[in-house]
């Protein structure tokens, strides 16, 4: 009966093992949000520590697991055991116990040391330039660096404020004048120069969110009522994917964001562009009609478009909405998905990105605005929510403003005009 059992287990286990083998070859370590493909020093240090734990655990697993398998096979009951004399009872061996406890503590020290170093390394922007060798990377703050810390941060480090909202992120560059107060904030997609340490101040305006760009750094939470910070540095140019990692309500899954790491010159150009106002809308076009609708349908209450409308401060800034590669908390991708996948495969790199596809962008705009309870689809029913519970629903906030439902309904034509208008906001 026991041998039958073993063959049964073997039968079950064989395909399973085969699957694991197949899986390892299929598991891609460089997918868009992979933590195993660090592209910056913070993520690299975290990855190194992780790999330390992996190796330790693999060794222990083989050791203990091997012993267990050996013991189970070697000491299995055999026919005739029933009549065998009783096994001599012992209650343990103090030497073995002490030895094993000591060994376990020793094993833990192996991971404790890199862990401690990495904790301090990740906590603050290093005052000196980031060293490349692993060991020195773990002790970045020796030799008086601490005293100069504030100065260094001010002079050398780019500072970005991240504000979490249900369910999108707002990015501000206080050193560069790109702030919400100045009507220059950037929603959901932000840009950093390559090779520069960036200090990120994390704030929330409602519930707890968490800021996570797996390839650049592990996550830190945005706690309401609390100052949190982290730092990142992008060492390779590219398009990085990030996501809110703390459950924050209905549309938590739709709370994504992107970061572009660009060459410093590109970054300066980008900053300049953010400071420009939206251009004139050509008279007599659909876009002009859309611009009027933007005010008439109360979008203007929350959204800011510098140069056109300046009232809104709650919702994402739309001044350069058409230049962004994503929409709706980065849930809707404005790039052509097929072209994007082809490019990723061609370059073997998920950070490479194609440009915005205008048709996709327009379709996304119509889908997004139309979905939020303000328009009906072709069948006359409200279109399905892209992000359930989002503030474009005209409940509370608009009721307070005394606005009625009818003012915010869009016809298909109106929606088209509005999308055309937004497409002009490069």
């Amino acid at each position: 009966m026991f041998s039958r059992f073993f063959s049964r287990v073997g039968l079950l286990a064989a395909p399973f093992l085969a699957l694991i083998m197949a899986g390892c070859s299929k598991a891609d370590m460089t997918v868009r949000q992979s933590t195993l493909d660090p592209k910056g020093p913070v993520a690299k240090v975290q990855y190194d520590v992780f790999m330390d734990t992996v190796w330790l655990v693999v060794v222990l697993f083989i050791l203990v697991g091997g012993l267990l398998v050996y013991a189970v096979i070697k000491f299995r009951a055999r026919p005739g055991d029933e009549d065998a004399p009783r096994i001599e009872e012992g209650h343990g061996n103090p030497l073995v116990e002490i030895g094993l406890i000591t060994a376990s503590i020793g094993a833990l020290v192996i991971i404790a040391i890199p862990t401690l170093s990495a904790i301090w390394y990740d906590d603050d922007v290093p005052a000196e330039s980031v060293p490349t060798s692993k060991l020195s990377a773990w002790y970045p703050r020796l030799e008086g660096a601490k005293e100069n810390y504030a100065k260094v941060v001010e002079e050398q480090v780019l500072e970005i404020d991240v504000i979490g909202k249900q369910w999108w992120f707002r990015f501000e560059y206080p050193q560069l004048g790109l702030t919400n107060d100045a009507k220059r904030s950037v929603p959901n997609e932000f840009v950093i120069p390559k090779g520069k340490a960036v200090r990120i101040n994390l704030r929330s305006e409602d519930v707890i969110h968490s800021f996570w760009i797996p390839k650049l750094a592990g996550k830190v939470d945005l706690m309401p009522g609390r100052k949190n910070h982290m730092w990142i540095q992008g060492d390779e140019v590219g398009h990085y994917y990030g996501q809110c990692a703390e459950f924050c309500g209905d549309s938590h899954a739709y709370m994504l964001f992107r970061v572009e790491v660009v060459e410093p010159a590109e970054f300066a150009k980008w900053v300049q562009k953010q400071k420009t106002d939206a251009g004139e809308v050509v008279a007599g076009t659909k876009a002009e009609k859309g611009k009027a609708l933007f005010a008439a349908k109360t979008c203007v209450m929350c959204h800011n478009i510098s140069g056109h409308y300046g009232a809104g401060a709650f919702a994402p800034d739309l001044t350069h909405v058409a230049s962004r590669k994503s929409l709706a908390g980065a849930w809707l991708d404005n790039r052509d998905p097929k072209a994007q996948l082809a490019k990723e495969q061609q370059t073997q790199n998920t950070e490479s990105s194609v440009e915005v596809d205008k048709a996709v962008l327009k379709a996304n705009l119509i889908k997004w605005i139309g979905s939020s309870g303000v328009a009906t689809g072709a069948d006359g029913k409200p279109t399905k929510d892209v992000k359930p519970g989002n503030r474009m629903h005209f409940y509370k906030m608009f009721n307070v403003a005394g606005l009625t439902e009818t003012q915010q309904k869009f016809t298909a034509d109106e929606l088209d005009c509005l999308a055309e208008y937004l497409l002009t906001l490069k």
Partner: protein, 113 residues
């Protein structure tokens, strides 16, 4: 399992109870005195850390006095004392750590003002 609920207590037991009775009265007096001293102490011009130490010691003293005599722990089995003190120590350690984990400089002033 039959019993006589009104079985008379033994003579030694009565003597012991009377002795405790006097302990209780003394202790009650001490508790009153210490409480009075605490109230006076906070208004005396003594450096704050000193007052704080004395206050902590006084309230800890009162605390353990009540536990040991009024709550009979000094007469009872040791086990009860250790059950309670173990929980007390765990509470103290846990919440000291919790208090230490918070400091004013982690607050976001935007939310406070």
């Amino acid at each position: 399992m039959s019993s006589s609920p009104e079985a008379a207590p033994s003579q030694e037991f009565l003597i012991e109870e009377t002795r405790r009775y006097h302990h209780f009265i003394t202790l009650a007096l001490w508790l009153a005195v210490v409480t009075g001293a605490e109230i006076v102490l906070i208004f005396l011009p003594i450096p704050m850390p000193v007052v704080l130490t004395i206050l902590s010691l006084m309230s800890a003293g009162k605390f353990f006095a009540v536990i040991l005599w009024f709550m009979h722990l000094i007469y009872d089995k040791r086990l009860l004392f250790w059950i309670f003190v173990a929980a007390l120590m765990l509470t103290f350690a846990t919440f000291s750590a919790l208090l230490a984990l918070f400091s004013v400089d982690v607050l976001d002033p935007k939310w406070i003002a």
